[in-house]
Amino acid sequence: MTDILSIAPRPSMTANKPLLEVRNLVTEFPLRTGIFRAVDDLSFSIEPGKTLCVVGESGSGKSVTARSILQIIDSPGRIASGSILLHQPDGTSLDLAKLDPRGRAIRSVRGRDIAMIFQEPMSSLSPVHTVGDQITEALRLHLRMGKAEARAEAISLLRQVEIPNPEKAIDRYAFQYSGGMRQRAMIAMALACKPQLLIADEPTTALDVTTQAEILDLISRLQKAHGMAVLFITHDMGVVAQIADDVLVMHHGVAKEYGPVEQIFHSPQDPYTRMLIGSVLKLEQKAEIRLARPPLDTTAAPLLDIRNLSMHFGDMKALDDVSISLLPGETLGIVGESGSGKTTMGRSIMRLYDPTAGEMHYRRADGTVLDLAKIGGGELKAARRELRMVFQDPFGSLNPRMTVSQVIGEPLLVNGIARGKNLDERVCHLMEQVGLDPTTRERYPHAFSGGQRQRIGIARAITLNPRIIVADEATSALDVSVRFQVLDLLMRLQDELGLAYIFISHDIGVIRYMCDRVGVMYRGKLVEVGEADKVCNAPDHPYTQALISAIPRPDPRDRDHSRRFRYTEPGTVKNGSSAR
């Protein structure tokens, strides 16, 4: 199925009367240690029918800005000063910043004039109410519809957002929907009362790229149909380039740059914007470190040779007859969307799962070959010292009750390799290797930023001089500016320690930057393996082509949506978009 929708680049910053004008907005959070300014003297405006993207890294205050408009800031935040003028069709203006957050006036704006969709479609919908119940609620509240009328309207809304079988889907619960369908339901809910402004707070961050592309299409199509303005909050410059008319770049609560999308991408004025664009463009090509390397010895005996590996959970074939090999010193990328089995693959290699069938031949330093799928006990323990893992979540993967030196030193301690002063020295050395200050080793993980925590995780992985590191989405939770720093660190360590990486990611940019070869996974099967350049630029398999086509290009001049299409497995009946 092809999903065609081309949006011609629109002239920006016209002299139309804006729909929403934010002037000198300051939002503060009174904390024990003082007042924290999440948004500091921010001004911008949105015109009807236009899209303003607010972009920034985590902690930039972009979400708080969105929530300030509707006065739904999480406690104890509050608007300290400034004005948020909503110009209504009848010519009157309403200053939302002056309204009581619990009052009737702001409540009649919420959901009717300005609606909002959120990042996590699962947790943003109530688990115990049907989707229909949550959509009709807004209709009955604002438009005073009767039960039957609201239900009919909700069904038509679900049809508009392309949910298959809306008559049945309306009585389902959010957990019975797939991720993409949940976000569609959220959009239906937000659009129920035909708002003039839709605020979308990272609406596609939790979704796969192909689903993201469909949701973005849907939003812009509905935007055109209703003449609605969109305030789109994201950290993804690719998405910004594809959908924005105007862009507001935020950093630490302050506007760094504000202007038409063309200017932001092609002649950025502010150094921070340039850095942000630069780090995105950096991921569009191979890493410099890799370009400087001698070519990989492809004749060497593989370090890890996976043959016909299968892992079934009940009827679900998470891994279905996968064969791939890893050369010494190589970085092998594994890409795929959620549910493709890429994480299962990493965990099976670590023997966190016991594979259902297949072999994993691991060549040890002395030349002997072990089948990781079969060994157990002491042999497995020994092998695990040489195969380490770096995890996705830099917050959840570090024990909050252990100091950094305990976290990094634990593998040495439990394997009886070092203790006391010797252990301390090695921990200091490891921290220096990953670019952390060893004097901070007695602190707890909460004192570190996301990027620093991921460095701690890497230091822990290299403690035992491993030979293979499985990195499962190791940079997905990081901001772009930090992302390539961590990738560069991994590659530097690769040169220093002679590591081989299995790099699992859904982000083609990261794969292109980092990997020598790539395996593409789809529903438990490995559909394509090849050189990274080839797979990222001219893939053979139609699924890979579809995947690559869905990635938003970080260039507003390259907005051709017509090349995008969704892959359907030959022989399967398609029952609706993004239904898995």
Binding site: R67, L70, I72, D74, R102, R107, S108, V109, R110, G111, R112, A115, M116, F118, Q119, E120, S123, S124, L125, S126, P127, V128, H129, T130, Q134, E137, A138, L141, H142, Y173, F175, Q176, M186, M189
Partner: protein
Amino acid sequence: MLKFVVKRLFWMIPSLFAVSFLAFVLIQLPPGDFVTTYIATLASSNEVVDQNTAAQLRERFGLDQPMLVQYLKWIWGIVTRGDFGLSFEWQQPVSGLIWERMALTLVLALASLIATWALALPIGVYSAVKKYSIGDYAFTAFTFFGLSIPSFLLALVLMYVAAVEFGQDVGGLFSSQYETAPWSIGKMYDLLTHLWLPVAILAVSSTASLIRVMRANMLDELPKPYVTTARAKGLSEFRLLVKYPLRIALNPFISTIAWLLPNLISGSVVVAIVLNLPTAAPLLLQSLMAQDMYLAGAFVLLICALTLIGSLISDILLALVDPRIRLE
């Protein structure tokens, strides 16, 4: 769903047998039997019972037979005739004794349950929504107070205050003139005037703990994104509270039904004894002390049956209220 219920009901039968047998064995485990206790009681009032009389008594009560035979006889009576046996101590059928007490126990338990929920749920929600406000602090202070005071102490103090300061008739659930009288409007009114004291005492500690649980549940739910979604839709604060977080925060309470029912019998023993309430708990304690095994056994069997039924009810209710359990 129906299949699940039938299956659960079927599994109740073997569990009931197992528990009743265990209960029977446990009651008999201490050395001696009812006759020994009986002789000891008589001896304390200087009556001497000779060996022959004791043996006769044992034969009359069937205590001379092996334990297994006693158990089978007892169970056979229950299954075929609904006959729970004869209480040695009271010389009355066990079922009569229990049912007589159960009615009042039920009244008391329901009254304190309603009082608890009616107070605790709104206060818990208020405390969570207005976290760290003066009201929250006041209720928090009350809950710590209510949790840390032993209920028998509270019973003694309240009894003293009621009797000495207000000249009220405390203890028991009826005034003396109504105690053996048949049911009438007057007796009902008399019951109500006596009921408030035990209900208040029983409700204090359970209200206190329930407030804490409710507050914690609500605090877990309030920052969830779906609450923000509802707020962004323009719902009023009260409506969204009731519809979304409160609804989900109540789920854990449904699982408490499982131990609410057995608590009817065995709960609040101390308070019932201090206040001299004619409920089931003191009778259960007395029967255990006297090794009045058919009475005690019937109680244990009843507690067990109520536990099983209670957990079945709470499972069914949970599945009804929470689609995640029903459909996943």
